[in-house]
Symmetry: C2
């Protein structure tokens, strides 16, 4: 068996211990005589798996009791539509902070279906820093403020949580940074995350929301969109993505039992990111354009000073077992995603390779 | 390792050969050094997996070239909303045939969002037979006619494909009977199926639609709802459920290469169903209320003459390694789902158990 270091932005690397456990249980879940993917979602066995996953996620993030946790489908992109349907039942204008490609997608979907006020934007600094708190200007009738905690493509991450008037819920897309460190959930109205970075395989979306917001849904939405209906049905208005939910649960157990929780995970992630950014900053060949205070821990985009070297860099990296370093097709260059499951040794191997590549191409 | 016979209605049994292959490739897909669930959906490796799955499905069902195949999320229940959004862009009234719980759910969702005309119903025969062709009365402005090919809970299956005027597309929910036998796809406008019965794990939905219908979408739908956008993006407007897609591909390969295609699968399925219905009809203890011409091949509901025997039946069946025979909570009794992955030996074991149980409780 071969295992390489996988720097993919998503679907992304999963912990080896999780994959091994899934492999060992694939045909027979703990003597029950069937695979988790063959279980009824209404069965006692699966309910135990589902509830354990929620409990572990609650423990990891210290989610307050007045918050619900939903396990949904459709990725963050479906949330871009579900959110306004669920939060605009009492009117008002959706407010957004624009920090790059993913926040723009959320804005465009809200505009297509309803409307959107841009409360702050990073466009005037070339998406190299997030707007400072004092630059956030809500509309008078703000129904909520949405921001993208970490721009997966731009590698731009918020260094603070916006403060809002009490009646304006804060909504955050944390797809690419959830579980990378501790989080004060009580500051948010809604947090959502596509699973395929730090949670599990693609096809699962986790939504965490304050329960008083369940009342704010519009009547005209598809029934599967309703957070309230999903909450009442334990995320089982219809058949949930059971196997992805199970794998997410294994990831949560790995974080709790093998990593030691999110504070320990944060220490590792901080070191991984610092080492790579330092290597980039110290080199003559590589560079990263983001304001140091907003540099993402999870997604590190960088460019080579000479574009002609790109193809060779990627080819030789792959030969060295360093996979998926190509930047997003919309921006080019390179990107190393350092999600929880990418081990520190993987980052060290990448840095070693980058130094060697620079030396050979000096 | 223990493997039991699993008669679950869904998520349902998967072929052992598929699970074994998935297990063997779980940590390292064919020497690439990563799991399929860790691959970028834009990677060459995953594209090969995705395209192969579509090609194999096209081969199995002999899907004509003017039909598109989509791999989506949200299950059949999300299709209940997506369908009218995609087919009502030119106005008209959605038409439905009501044959039970699942068709009723589709109708209710269409009514909630738009409207629905009931073109025919099985309510007056107690859901024991599907309406005959001559009973189908379309509204003047029918935008489409929707029916549920196989009612998973009721065990009621269409024995014919409705004939419609050329300008009215026929739409069919085939979640629980797709791939159980050959199908003339050219008779349909849209076919859709949640994966978790005959295709793969929960969290994937397959939609097959005639390409001229792509033009009929409404402007006001969430962008992920659009069949046209999904078709243009190869089902990757956003990250698809990659691992479920891969597993579906393994199931398609199993059907083609190990079973020998859908005609061979149909022979096996016909025998499985006939044997079980015969055993039920010959017994004094068990009965099934469905008109023989509409008895489902895939879902066989039956009741015991004495309700007090139910608990013992289920308990002893489970001890005999015959899992998930409890009927749906809305109707009670028993149900044996005989999807493709349930082997003929499993059905024989079930029949043997049922006869023995009847003898002991005579």
């Amino acid at each position: 068996m071969t295992r390489h270091y996988n720097f993919c932005a998503g679907p992304a690397a999963l912990p080896v211990a999780v994959l091994e456990r899934a492999r060992d249980e694939l045909l027979d879940y703990r003597g029950r005589g069937l695979s988790v993917m063959e279980m009824s979602h209404r069965s006692a066995e699966f309910n135990e798996i589902a509830e354990r996953a929620e409990r572990d996620l609650r423990d990891l993030l210290a989610i307050p009791d007045n918050y619900r946790v939903l396990f949904l489908q459709g990725g963050a992109t479906l949330q871009f539509a579900m959110l306004p349907y669920n939060l605009l039942g009492q009117g008002g204008t959706p407010n957004y902070i624009d920090t790059g490609i993913w926040s723009k997608k959320a804005i465009d979907e809200a505009k297509r279906l309803f409307s959107a006020h841009i409360a702050a934007s990073s466009r005037d600094n070339g998406l190299s820093a997030v707007p400072r708190p004092e630059a956030i200007a809500l509309s008078d009738d703000a129904a909520y403020l949405h921001y993208t905690g970490n721009e997966t493509i731009g590698g731009l991450e918020f260094d603070y949580i916006p403060e809002l008037p009490e009646d304006v819920p804060l909504v955050c897309d944390l797809s690419s940074s959830i579980l990378s460190r501790p989080l004060d959930v009580s500051r948010f109205g809604v947090i959502y995350a596509g699973a395929q970075k730090n949670i599990g395989p693609a096809g699962l979306t986790v939504v965490i929301l304050r329960d008083d917001l369940l009342e704010r849904g519009r009547a005209d939405m598809p029934s599967l969109f309703s957070y309230q209906a999903m909450s009442e049905a334990g995320s089982m208005v219809n058949t949930p993505p059971t196997y992805a939910w199970y794998l997410a649960g294994l990831v949560f157990q790995w974080l709790k039992n093998e990593v030691g929780g999110l504070a320990a995970m944060a220490d590792i992630n901080r070191r991984k990111a610092q080492k790579l950014y330092r290597a980039i900053d110290e080199s003559q060949l590589y560079s990263n354009p983001i304001d140091p205070v907003n540099r993402s821990w999870m997604n590190v985009p960088f460019v080579l000073a000479e574009e002609r070297l790109n193809a060779g860099f990627l080819e030789q990296a792959e030969q060295a077992g360093l996979l998926n370093l190509k930047g997003h097709r919309s921006v080019g260059g390179m990107r190393a995603s350092l999600y929880n499951a990418v081990p520190e040794e993987g980052v060290e191997a990448l840095i070693g390779f980058m130094r060697e590549f620079e030396r050979k191409n000096a």
